[in-house]
């Protein structure tokens, strides 16, 4: 039964994909030229569509596939500081995301632990967390550039500040909602504070903490593209910006597909990690 379900789901996915590409293909088919009497000298100076008195068109699926193949064939070329392969750009972005994310984890998990263990701290810090949590990464950017005075570190800071909150809140919540019975048992056995934290609370709160980390990595990956579009230089966000500059929709779609793919891989990796710490009650 499950096998036939996943088979049918796979078939349906393929059908949706084929349908989307077919609609896209027919929607972007080049229309026949309307004006036949264009000065050839003029036509040589503008794009094909403009020569026919139209706006340039959206690329067809075949165009995009060709662009995608061109990038995947040679992902690690370096032709100067501003023109590097898409693989290198992704590596830059991943590097920034991981640094910012790991610093955020290193701050959020211990801090969340402390907040979660103290109802007073939970209440006192709650308004700050609630206000800081929903701020868009791009709103932080001018502030970061102004104070940190380094665009690379600013990008990492923005990743840090945006991926901090889900981990902090989830850790605090997980720690605060460890079942009272377990804590009481620990107290009865006269377990020390440190031992209680590592042997009882941490395993009990681990699944909630992992959920927070999984939300955070998704946010971090969302944020990096926006941040890099703003500061430029390197990374997949810069690549998107640079091709926007060139109005190259084919390259932008390629980048979008790759961003989605990497985001999915990150999410799956953390989902796997979450399964390791899951337990049955």
């Amino acid at each position: 039964m499950t096998r036939s379900l996943s088979l049918r789901a796979g078939l349906l996915s393929l059908a949706i994909l084929a349908g989307t590409i077919a609609i896209w293909h027919f929607a972007t088919l080049p229309t026949a030229g309307s004006a036949g009497n264009v000065d050839p000298e003029y036509a040589a100076l503008v794009s094909g569509a403009a020569a026919e008195g139209q706006k340039s068109t959206f690329p067809t699926p075949a165009d995009v596939a060709a662009t995608l193949w061109k990038h995947l064939k040679d992902p690690f070329y370096v032709r100067g500081a501003n023109d590097q392969g898409v693989g290198i750009q992704l590596a830059y972005s991943l590097g920034r995301v991981l640094i910012g994310y790991l610093i955020a984890a290193a701050v959020a998990i211990p801090l969340g632990f402390l907040i979660g263990m103290s109802p007073l701290a939970t209440r006192a810090l709650d308004p700050f967390i609630q206000i800081l949590k929903p701020i868009s990464p791009l709103a932080w950017m001018p502030l970061a550039l102004y104070t940190i005075k380094d665009s690379g570190i600013s990008a990492i800071f923005v990743i840090f500040i945006c991926s901090l909150w889900p981990m902090l809140i989830n850790t605090a919540f997980g720690v605060a909602s460890v079942r009272k019975e377990w804590l009481n048992v620990a107290a009865t056995l006269e377990v020390g504070a440190l031992r209680k934290a590592f042997m009882v609370i941490l395993p009990a709160a681990a699944p909630t903490i992992m959920t927070g980390m999984r939300i955070s990595i998704g946010i971090a990956w969302l944020v990096i593209v926006a941040a890099e579009m703003l500061v430029g230089g390197t990374g997949i966000g810069y690549f998107v910006w640079n091709e926007w500059n060139n109005l190259s929709i084919g390259n932008i779609i390629t980048a979008i597909l790759l961003i989605g793919l990497v985001g999915m891989i990150l999410d799956v990796a953390l989902a796997r990690a979450a399964r390791l710490v899951a337990y049955r009650e």
């Binding site: 403009a50 665009s151 430029g232 810069y238």
Partner: protein, 451 residues
């Protein structure tokens, strides 16, 4: 090339330039010094002569009276031009070889960009990385944060930064203009019958930045046609790369933008070129090569080498026969990231106008490094006119501090380039003459203003 003219030739006007900007006639071409040593000598001589004869008429009278030969001897007796030229040509030792220079991907940055692939930086012993940057606010912040040693800026930006308008006041210098002309007003194709600016009320326009020649020229153009740029239309700041996308999406009706943005709108069939900026003010400065005052004073040798590379690249770019080659060098993804034909049309001035005609105007863009202080004064009058700066403005002092900063002046003096304090240039914008000596009266003379 005004800065490269022979100052000992009575026929040339040094301080005021020719009425049409600097496009060289064939005679000027022939006189243009070919080698860089000659060019360095010309620059030094020009500066000395300007310092000695602030009034151009006096210099010319002097030259006609005594003859060029006697004049050279006389001036040499007062000032050792040969030694000074040598010092300028050799330069102080370069303190820092690896530099980062930021640029925005537009053709205004041509000298800064092309100096990399065409080896002008290398020739001065510099290893320069030219870094593409996303927008003017970012390039300003990165330059202020010292991530860039020098940067491509809009010529009003060093003035704004120095005065603390739109950022903290930080002494900033603008040792060289990059290009003159080279901008245009582009409108969406659907407005092709609305060629009279009086019909533009209610339209939305984009300019690259609030502190840009584009903003001031567009406002000037609209106001001269009786359209109030604040009340009758909307003007927003949009980074150049996003302009065509916005025009295509009908978010804006037109823009006054740097190239290749205008030509790109034509290339994609989205807009047409309404007027070139040279038809508003022929010979207007646009973008600039700028550095912090700190960089100039702390690393004079590096600064001088960098400036020399830029001046030589600018001189190379000014020659029409080099333009195709330059387009090929700067069009790839690493630099402008545009189809080569678009860049070529901008630089050669043979371009499609978006309405089915091929226009030939070799002066669509020109390159001249000399930062005339009167340019700065004009920019300041417009900042004042549109309420960007309030209160009393010491036009001449600010212009002098920024367009030829005092420390840059000192450095230039050491190198034999006595600061050309009297380098003002009278010009007219849309037929209205501008006298740099009377900026306040000029501001008052406009009907539409925000003072």
């Amino acid at each position: 090339m005004t800065a490269f003219k022979d100052p000992f030739d009575a026929r040339h006007r040094l301080s005021s330039g020719c009425s049409c900007g600097r496009h060289a006639t064939e005679a000027e071409h022939a006189a243009d010094p070919a080698t860089s040593d000659d060019r360095a000598r010309r620059v030094v001589e020009g500066a000395v002569m300007r310092a000695l004869f602030p009034e151009d008429a006096t210099r010319r009278a002097f030259l006609t009276a005594v003859g060029a030969g006697t004049a050279i001897a006389a001036v040499n007796a007062l000032f050792p031009i040969a030694t000074a030229t040598e010092v300028f040509a050799q330069g102080a030792p370069v303190e820092k070889k690896d530099l980062k220079v930021g640029f925005i991907p537009i053709t205004c940055a041509t000298p800064i960009i092309m100096a990399k692939p065409m080896g002008f930086y290398e020739k001065q012993g510099l290893n320069v990385e030219v870094v593409k940057t996303a927008g003017w606010a970012v390039i300003r912040d990165k330059a202020i944060n010292k991530e860039y040693d020098a940067a491509h800026m809009l010529s009003p930006m060093p003035l704004a930064i120095s005065m603390g308008v739109g950022s903290n006041p930080i002494p900033w210098t603008m040792p060289a203009v990059e290009n003159i002309n080279g901008q245009a007003i582009t409108l969406a194709v659907k407005h092709k019958d609305k060629r009279d600016p009086k019909d533009w009320k209610g339209m939305k326009f984009a300019v690259p930045f609030d502190y840009s020649m584009h903003n001031y020229l567009l406002r000037y153009y609209l106001a001269e046609h009786g359209v109030d740029p604040d009340r009758d239309v909307q003007i927003r700041a949009v980074p150049p790369p996003e302009m065509v996308a916005n025009l295509r999406a009908d978010n804006i009706d037109g823009f006054l933008a740097p190239d290749p943005v205008n030509q790109r709108a034509v290339y994609d069939g989205v807009g047409f070129i309404h007027v070139l900026s040279k038809e508003i003010w022929d010979g207007h400065p646009c973008c600039a090569f700028s550095a912090s005052k700190q960089f100039v004073t702390e690393m004079p040798g590096t600064y001088q080498a960098l400036l020399k590379a830029i001046i030589e690249a600018t001189a190379f770019a000014q020659k029409p026969e080099n333009r195709k080659q330059i387009a090929e060098a700067i069009a790839p993804t690493n630099y402008l990231n545009q189809p080569q034909t678009v860049v070529e049309q901008v630089l050669t001035g043979t371009f499609a106008d978006g309405l089915g005609k091929v226009v030939k105007d070799p002066n669509r863009i020109a390159f001249d490094p000399f930062p005339y202080e009167s340019f700065a004064v004009w920019i300041l009058t417009q900042m004042k006119r549109w309420g960007q700066i309030k209160g009393e403005v010491d036009y001449q002092k600010v212009a002098k501090d920024v367009f030829l900063a005092t420390d840059a002046t000192k450095l230039m003096a050491e190198a034999g380039l006595t600061a050309p304090t009297a380098t003002t240039k009278t010009f007219s914008v849309m037929g209205k003459p501008f006298d740099p000596a009377k900026p306040a009266e000029y501001v008052d003379s406009f009907a539409i203003k925000r003072t």
